[in-house]
Symmetry: C3
Subunit: 212 residues, 3 copies
């Protein structure tokens, strides 16, 4: 997914960080599925959807080769992380909070990589930023839809918001001819800071509740 960057070393580093993020998302899938009566394989499938769903939807919409079809590391990491989480969660209570940091890292990496992939295909800026959001959040949405829950990422703590702001920053920096590595790191950091601040101080967007 990250072979799009010009820096071989950075690409390698980001590839490994991405696999960590995939593992974190897969774990969140198991913990969510654990609230239901799913069996082990059901949980693994929810975990896979959580881990690779966002990038998959982006690739299908942009008509690119789906990123995990040629490199089975993504699937393998998601399955192993799901098995490990399943094993640990049966032994002791695992708080979903354990996964907030890898999840936020995943959000920031996925959003920037998704935006970049869209930019490379020369789509309009608003579409490119939306692809970043899709890549960042849709795994979590698929996870919750498969578990028959209202998507958590729609409910606050600036989840989608952080992804969108970071995607827009990345596009603006690239438009201003800023070096791709610098732009990627800046945008990722911004997403991470917004998301972690929102969790820490419970910041959110305005809501509206229908009076029905």
């Amino acid at each position: 997914m990250m072979d799009i960057f010009d820096y071989p070393a950075l690409t390698t580093v980001m590839y490994w960080i991405t696999l960590v993020a995939v593992a974190g998302s897969a774990s969140s899938g198991v913990l969510e599925a654990g609230k239901k009566h799913f069996d082990l394989l059901g949980m693994i499938i929810v975990a896979i959807a959580a881990a690779i769903g966002g990038g998959t939807l982006r690739d299908v919409l942009l008509d690119r080769t789906v990123f995990w079809i040629r490199d089975q590391s993504y699937l393998l990491v998601a399955i192993c992380a799901a098995l490990l989480t399943f094993y640990l969660a049966r032994k002791k209570h695992l708080s979903p909070k354990v996964f907030l940091i890898p999840d936020a890292v995943g959000l920031s990496l996925f959003a920037v990589a998704g935006t970049n992939a869209a930019l490379l295909m020369d789509v309009p800026w608003l579409v490119a930023s939306f692809m970043g959001v899709i890549t960042g959040i849709m795994g979590g949405v698929f996870r919750d839809v498969l578990c028959n829950e209202e998507p958590l990422v729609f409910q606050g703590s600036l989840y989608a918001t952080a992804a969108w702001v970071g995607a827009l920053l990345y596009i603006w920096l690239r438009y201003k001819q800023v070096d791709i590595g610098l732009a990627a790191i800046s945008a990722s950091l911004l997403i991470l800071i917004i998301r972690l601040s929102a969790i820490r101080w419970d910041i959110g967007l305005p809501k509206y509740q229908s009076r029905e």
Copy 2:
């Protein structure tokens, strides 16, 4: 989406009507999401799914370029309509009934455009009509799935039915060599009439309720 018609003037008119229909569908997404505890951006994403989800699924299935990837007006109109609805809905109660007319207009336009797009790719007639139905109704289905609700469009008032009947009429007229503009207008009007009559006089298909 409408560049498929031979009449430049008609194409322009339909393009603008389509954007109105996109706005109407987006508004329905915000009102539906307002029943949940979604934040502003969550609502915007539900609104986008409601507005462009049907045409997106059709394009992915037919392996065409997704219609909103190259022209960001669709995304922009959906986001603006969502923001406006959010602002108005916080001020005063907005009845979902306000959006029944733009929604019915959207259904009729989307269904005919979807059928036409499929016919151009030379698929069998039953498949072409099903593509029209998908284009017309799946936005509403995605909206309700994301809100963790049973899809409203499956529950009556001839929603999918109107789309399917109109799609079949369009295919039959085109098969009979009727002019494309005339066929499109006739089929759209038929869908509009069926849908609005069904709402007005509460007409529906037979149902069956399992006895469990």
Copy 3:
């Protein structure tokens, strides 16, 4: 979907068995939708999603032509089976158990055909087996998501498990140069035996229930 096998006679037999399996899956869709207040056409659409959803997702992910786009028999069989089930279910109580056998046949055929389609595109073995699982189970997942229920296939009786084990056997046999017809029949039979045994003796994978 089955034109991938080298044996014309086997291909024809499997084509017809597949249509029976499509009909069985469509019926399960109507029975599931009957628990909700869906109208006739809503049920037909749920039935179509149950019958062809898995293969559709596989084809979209692998960027193949979606299998029912060129041959409308699949759609036609799904619709007819849905209408028949609707008619019968209004007359007398239909136990979902009636459809367990065609459903298990469908699972085994779809899983093997999906794995084979992926192998032909030269994807890694883990990805190929996962494509088999997707083809086998996602129709049932879409059915339950559209009905706003927790997916039944995640909840036990070795549904996804049977598909995955059979897919892996098929890949191993093909890797060992075993004849394609023999490999397909062995893998399908294994899936059928696992699934039917699991139903008969209520065997399942370990589960874990979160303590929250």
